[in-house]
């Protein structure tokens, strides 16, 4: 960084950092204590605790595994500034994973670390899109666009979930996901509408990832059970019809980027089962080996 002459006594960061309501400066996630510490975690009447736990596991696992995939990009990106951006997004998702796994763990009687590090592959509920290994930067931004557009639409609805803790987690996540989607969309447009080479690579990324989109809209019953009771509050329609918000966003971005929406068929299910049922792609075993090996080798270690 080149800066003008810099006076030690006149550090601009001191000026900016001073007096900003203490206690909120280090927002969620820097402490290793329970992220739901001090929150009333009683499950309200009318909410099935088992379904709530499964819903939080599903959404928490999506964030945990996706975050891990983004962390693997750090130190390999083409530019320092992009590295910070991607690391920020990975940290946001890790924060969401901690909150969601803590919510599930409170019901299941297991801590967030227990759930993250001591479950086997078949117990993870994340979608295949989260575990995909990006082959290049185009896949990174296209996958992030698909994931964040889908997750944002879902979280906007879950912000009115009958469980107040899940609703608060979703409401917090909405701002984060809106930024992730904005970051990804800008890059998809920049690359899709760029040179012949960048356009071809971005279209190839879209074609490669599109078979993973179908799984996102299969409609997990546990997640659906946590959506607001009134259909009028929902914009997510799971099942055969794709989410309208997702469709609209993807349609706008792809049109602006000059990219063709692929007509690829969804990845085939395995005996009618997919990520939410604990059936994963080959990549998942390698991810978990890297993610869990240290915690499993030293199960009594503390932070």
């Amino acid at each position: 960084m080149t800066t003008a002459e810099f006076d030690e006594d006149d550090n601009p960061y001191d000026l900016l950092a001073e007096d900003h309501d203490e206690g909120h400066r280090w927002a969620f996630g820097t402490g290793f204590t329970d992220p739901l510490d001090g929150v009333d975690t009683a499950v309200p009447d009318g909410v099935d605790p088992a379904a709530l736990a499964r819903c939080c596991l599903a959404l928490g696992d999506d964030a945990l595994i996706y975050s891990h995939r983004l962390q693997q990009w750090v130190a390999r990106l083409p530019e320092l500034e992009e590295e910070t951006a991607v690391a920020n997004i990975a940290l946001d998702l890790l924060g969401q994973a901690r909150l969601l796994l803590s919510r599930a763990g409170g019901i299941l009687g297991r801590g967030e670390d227990q759930l993250a590090f001591f479950r086997d592959e078949g117990e993870f509920r994340n979608v295949a899109l989260a575990e995909h290994a990006d082959r290049d930067f185009a896949e990174l931004v296209v996958r992030l666009l698909i994931f964040s557009a889908w997750r944002l639409a879902l979280f906007e609805n879950l912000a009115a979930a009958p469980d107040p803790v899940l609703a608060a987690i979703a409401a917090k996540g909405v701002n984060e996901l809106a930024y992730h989607r904005d970051y990804a969309a800008r890059w998809v447009i920049r690359l899709g509408d760029g040179t012949d080479l960048s356009h071809a690579k971005t279209q190839a990324a879209l074609d490669a990832l599109w078979p993973l989109v179908g799984e996102l809209f299969r409609g997990d019953p546990d997640v659906q059970a946590m959506l607001p009771a009134s259909p009028g509050d929902r914009t997510v329609h799971h099942g055969t019809e794709h989410d309208r918000a997702f469709d609209a966003v993807l349609g706008t971005v792809l049109a602006t980027a000059g990219l063709d929406r692929p007509a690829a068929t969804p990845l085939a299910l395995v005996g009618g089962r997919a990520g939410r049922d604990g059936v994963h792609t080959e990549a998942m075993g390698y991810i978990l080996a890297e993610l869990q090996s240290v915690a499993r080798a030293h199960p009594d270690a503390t932070w």
């Binding site: 960084m1 002459e5 900016l16 900003h20 530019e79 500034e81 910070t84 904005d182 920049r190």
Partner: protein, 93 residues
């Protein structure tokens, strides 16, 4: 990327009245620079407003000209408003 231009970043803190220069970064255009600035310089909740300016658009005084520029005002104490007695009932002084 060596061909990305340099942008200077200015932040305004929550209680701050003015934007303060905090550093610089590379970006392909101003919109990207704004987002890079958000990711690089506001990670610890420092700011509520960001300006980015292309470094090449800034005209700066040269260190070589420091003396002719600034020395002449050094001995003119009468330019400081220190020769008034401020009445006790004037607030905010």
């Amino acid at each position: 990327m060596p061909d990305w231009p340099l942008y200077e970043v200015f932040l305004r803190g929550k209680r701050g009245l003015n934007h303060v220069h905090v550093g610089s970064l590379h970006a392909a255009d101003a919109e990207m620079a704004l987002r890079h600035a958000r990711d690089l310089y506001t990670r610890r909740n420092e700011g509520v407003s960001i300006w980015v300016v292309k470094a090449s658009d800034i005209t700066a005084s040269s260190p070589d000209e420091k003396d002719p520029f600034f020395k002449p005002s050094g001995d003119k104490v009468y330019r400081h408003p220190t020769f008034y007695d401020i009445p006790a009932d004037v607030p905010h002084m």
